[in-house]
Amino acid sequence: MVDLTTKIGTLTLKNPVLTASGTFGYGEEYVDFVDLNRLGGICVKGTTLHPREGNPYPRMAETPAGMLNAVGLQNKGVDYFIHSIYPRLTQYKTTFIVNVSGSTIDDYVETAEKINAVETIPAIELNISCPNVKQGGMTFGVDPQAASEVVREVRKVYNKTLIVKLSPNVTDIALIAKTVTNEGADALSLINTLLGMAIDAETQRPLLSTITGGLSGPCIKPIALRMVWQVAKAVDIPIIGMGGIMKSTDAIEFLLAGASAIEVGTANFIDPAISIKILEGIESYLEKHHYSSVKDIIGTLKT
């Protein structure tokens, strides 16, 4: 029996497979395909202080080995989440992590404070990297000073596990990683989507209503792996790795590069049962290579 548990700060996950925010709804959407109780965790849809309608259609474009999205954080707001969605989720024996986003520092702080008050939610993933909102989002994640300020203010009101989700749209991700670590982040998750765009040559128009959007899928995996590797060398807090994980070997590569857990994102759209297959694949890999614990391979890349 392999020990699959992994630690993200003081939080222990039953296994290293989480589902990524924005790709798995609130988990409920997937119950016909996945036993949610088997997942290490679920990062729920990006949640903001006030309800948001998101961006106009079209919000999605397929690209080679991936897709662009410009959903724009459509959600019903943190109060609706706490009172009308979360009570239904408590029946599942997995760790729910709330992805928190905002337009201003006050938005982040107030939202985090409200989630902090929900006793059974052990962690938030502070999304300072959403590329699809006009104000806030990624603007915090690409500027070390803004990033440190938002993390510092949230840290003052949020006393559980604070995971900061980093943007890849920077020159030096290790610098941002160090900055937010110094402000008290307990863990880092990376990468969010890469800013991209797609054009229809026939109509000579962009394929997204917002012109640019966030690129995800296997096309971004090499970049994500490189960034996890760089960040793992730069900081000593746990990393949750993601970006184009489609199969268990992809997940194992992230663990070897230094991630203590991984998030499965876009792959859920192609195979809604993929998260469990990835979990089973990690377990078989560990058994085959005679490891007793998943912790034995974290950050053990041979160079």
Binding site: F24, V71, D271
Partner: protein
């Protein structure tokens, strides 16, 4: 209805014209009773430039034969690859997805199903279901020209078929909204096709106080209400076409 992932085998393939074809499938698992308006997502593996699943409404469903038909227009890499799939090939499918058309009230006798282009696809399944429920649906079908009229013989088995073509090669010349049959009175209209056509039909229905349901074809990623990519604007805000649709009351939508 519980959603499933299954493998379906292609039992028959018919090219209807150079850009449209019909696929008939048999499921490896027993099929539940499917509803008209619902759709399926097919995984297309052979082409590396096809990443997401492809979405198709159920064109026809035969519970006794355990057979499902889909109607495909070749528009890009995904549908082009699918057009080369041979009979006997197994295809991974997620189904059944989405809501369905509603059945009319017993007193709503005059039913018109209006389709344009490949948008006629769900109307065959709807028409056959209406007929099974004792209704007599009529069909108003529009196409560019006679070569783009699809499945007319199948519709004729179910009820009266009215046709418009843009070049006048068959039926009345013009768009469906120009057809003389619209001078008759109807109790319920169902429509699927290009957005301008559905918009015009919705406006016609609204001005004549006729109940009208439309089926939308927005591009989707997940198909199960998780990614929020396929939204349409309704009077209640942005709404997922995949789970709250594809069928909407025409007056719920912001046209």
């Amino acid at each position: 209805m519980q959603k499933k992932i299954s493998d379906w085998v292609i039992t028959e393939k018919m090219m209807l014209n150079p850009t449209h074809f019909l696929l008939k499938f048999r499921s490896s698992d027993p099929l539940p009773i499917l509803q008209p308006g619902q759709f399926v997502q097919l995984k297309i593996d052979e082409n590396p430039s096809v990443f997401l699943r492809r979405t198709f409404s159920i064109h026809y469903f035969d519970l006794a034969k355990q057979e499902i038909w889909i109607l495909v227009q070749i528009v890009g890499e995904g549908t082009s690859t699918l057009s080369h799939y041979p009979v006997g090939k197994s295809v991974n499918v997620i189904y059944p997805l989405g809501n369905s058309f509603s059945m009319p009230l017993a007193q709503q006798k005059n039913l018109l199903l209006v389709g344009g282009g490949v948008g006629i696809a769900p109307l065959l399944f709807l028409g056959s279901t209406l007929k099974q429920h004792g209704f007599s649906p009529a069909f108003l079908i529009g196409a560019k020209d006679k070569h783009h009229l699809l499945e007319i013989d199948e519709f004729e088995k179910l009820g009266q078929v009215y046709i418009t073509t843009e070049d006048g090669s068959v039926g009345e010349k013009g768009f469906v909204t120009d057809h003389s049959v619209l001078k008759q009175s109807f109790d319920h209209i169902y429509s699927c096709g290009p957005t301008p056509m559905m918009k015009a039909i919705a406006a016609y229905a609204s001005s004549h106080s006729i109940a009208c349901e439309v089926s939308l074809e927005n591009k989707m990623a997940c198909g199960i209400g998780a990614c929020l990519c396929c939204v349409t604007e309704t009077h209640q805000g942005n709404t997922c076409v995949c789970v709250d649709g594809p069928v909407f009351n025409a007056n719920e939508l912001v046209w």
